[in-house]
Amino acid sequence: MKSPVFRSYAIIYLIFLYAPIVLLPIFAFNDSKVIAFPLQGFTTAWFVEMWEDETLWNAVQNSLIISVSVAVISTLLGLFAARSTTRFQFPAKAGIMGLIMLPMVLPEMILAMALLVVLLAIGINLSLVTIILGHVLVCTPFAVAILSSAFQSLDKSLEEAAYDLGETPISTFWLIVLPLVMPGIISSLLICFTISLDEFIISYFLGGTDTVLSVYIYGQFRFPAKVPAIMALGTILVLLSITLLATAEYFRRRGIAKAGGKDSGGFL
C-alpha cells in the first residue's frame, strides 16, 4: 500500500471530494460578484446581504418546520420498528424490514414522482405537509438502522432483571430501556433532521408554492449577482451539517459504550 500510485490516487480523490467545499468559504469572503480567481479582497458584505434577504428567512423557516417534524416522526416510527424487530418474532419479519429499509436505496426521483402522481390523483394540495410525508419515507430507514443498533446492544436480561425486581413492563421501559437507548434516539433525531434539511428532489416535486431552503438555493443560481450570498449561506450550512453529524455520531458511540457493547462498524 506504500506505492506512490496509490498515494497520489488517494490524494487526488480527496482533493476532488473536498476542494469544491473549501471554495465555498473562500468565495463567501471574496470582494467580487464574479466567482473566479484571482481573489479580490476580504468582505463580509455577502453575509449581510444574505442576512437581509426575506425570502431566504421564509425558506429557512419552512425548512426548520419540515426538518423538525420529520426528525420527530421518523424517530418515533423508527423506535417502534427497532423495538419490534429486536425483541419479537413475527411472520415475514425479514420481508417487512426489507420493505421498510428499501427507501434508503430507492432512487428518490422515483419516490418523488410516484408520490406526486398519487397526491395529485387523490386531490391533496401540495404543501409543507406533503413534503414532510415524503421526507419521513426517506428518513425512517435511517432512524430504524440507528435505533436497531442501539436496541441490539441492549442485553435482554436487563429488562428481565428490572421486571424481576418488581417493576412493571412500562416502568421498566422508562427506567432501563429509554435511558440506555437515549443516545441512539438523539443520534437518530439529528441525522433525520440533517437529511431532511439537505433533501432537494422531494422538496422540489412536492413543495407546491412553499419554498424550502434547498429549493431556494437552487433557484438563486439563476441570478449571477446572487451567487456570492449563496456562497455565504453555503458556508454556514456546511459548518452546521458537520456539527450536527459529529454530535449524532458522538451520541451513537456513547450509547454503545454505555450499554456495554462493542462498536460493530457503525452507521457513519
Binding site: D155, S157, L158, E160, A161, A162, Y163, D164, L165, G166, E167, T168, I176, P179, L180, K258, A259, G260
Partner: protein, 363 residues
Amino acid sequence: MTKDAMIEFRDVHKYYGDYHALRGITGTIRPGEFFSLLGPSGCGKTTLLRTIAGFEDISSGAVLVDGRDMAGVPANKRPTNMVFQSYAIFPHLSVEENVGFGLRRDSRSKEEKARAVGEALEMVGLKGYGKRAAHALSGGQRQRVALARALILKPKVLLLDEPLSALDKKMREQMQVELIRLQRQVGITFILVTHDQEEALVMSDRIAVMFEGEIAQLADPETLYRRPNSRKVADFIGTMNFLPAKVLSEGGDAVEIDAAGFGRIHIEAQQVMGGATAEGATVGFRPETLTILYEGSAATDRESMATIEEVVYFGDMTYYDVRIDGTESPVRISMRNVFGRPVLDRGARARVGWSPGALVLFR
C-alpha cells in the same frame, strides 16, 4: 408434602412450538436448601429455572412457590429473585442505585433504604463501592452486585442462572465458597443452574440431574456419585468405569452376578439400578474404588491381575488405565501418590484390589 416444599413442580410440561422442552417435571425443593439443576446445555434446566421466576409460561402442570400456585402471577409479583448469567447490572446506574433498585417501590424512608443498601453491599464484600459506576466493575464484582441486588428484597427463593460460568477458574472456586457461606448466612433457598458437575457437587445439598427435559435423578451429591441410577447419570457425574456383567440369580437382598474381570460375586439389591431385564447388564465403579496393590500391601476384599496400559501423572495423583485379565477394554484407576512409592511403568503387571460394595449394576 407441600408443607415441606418451598418449590413444588407438578407434572410441568413446556412446549416451544413442536419442541418439547420440559417433559413432565415433578419434584420438590425444600426450604433453606441449596439446590442445583444440573445437566448438559439444552436439557431444559434454565427453562425450568425461568418458570419459577415467571419468565417462561408453562404449557401444563403447576409450579408452586411456598405452597402458592404461580399460574398467572407475573415475574414482578413473585417472591423470587434472580441472578442472571450476564449479571444484568444496569450500566447507567451506580453500584448503590443498582443494589437499591428493587427498593424503589418500598415505603421505607430514604435513610432506611440507604442503610439496607449498605448492609447488602457489606454482606457481599463490596463495602465502600456504592458510589462506583457499574460499568467500571470487574466480573467478580458485578457478580457480587447482582447478588446484593437480588438478596436485598429478601426473596423466599434466590435463582442463580449459571452465575459462575463467566469467571475464570480461580475466581469461580472462590465464589463457590462465598455462595455457600452466603446461603448459610441468609438461610434463603438457593436454586442454581449449572452444567458443571463439580460445581454442583461442591455447592449443593441436593441436585436434580436433567437430560432432555426430564429429571433423570434427584438426590444428594453423595448418592448421585456413589449410586447413580443410570449409566447416563454415572457418565455425566465424574468418571465411571463400565464392564459387562450377567445376573446369575437374585433372591431377597442379595444378587449374584458374573462380572468380567471380577468373576462371580454377591452384591446387595440396592446396588442394582434399573428394571429386571435379565441379560446384558453392566457394572460401574469409580476410579478411586480400585487400588493397585503394591508388594507387601494388605489384600482388600478381592483382587484381580491386570496389565498397565497407560500412565497419566498429575503430581498429587496418578491415573492408570489398566486392563484387568479377562476383559476387553481398559478401566481407569486413580491412585494418590505417596512419598517413596514408585509410579508404575506402562506394560507392567499389577495386582488390582477392589470391593464388591463399591460396584453399581446397571441393567
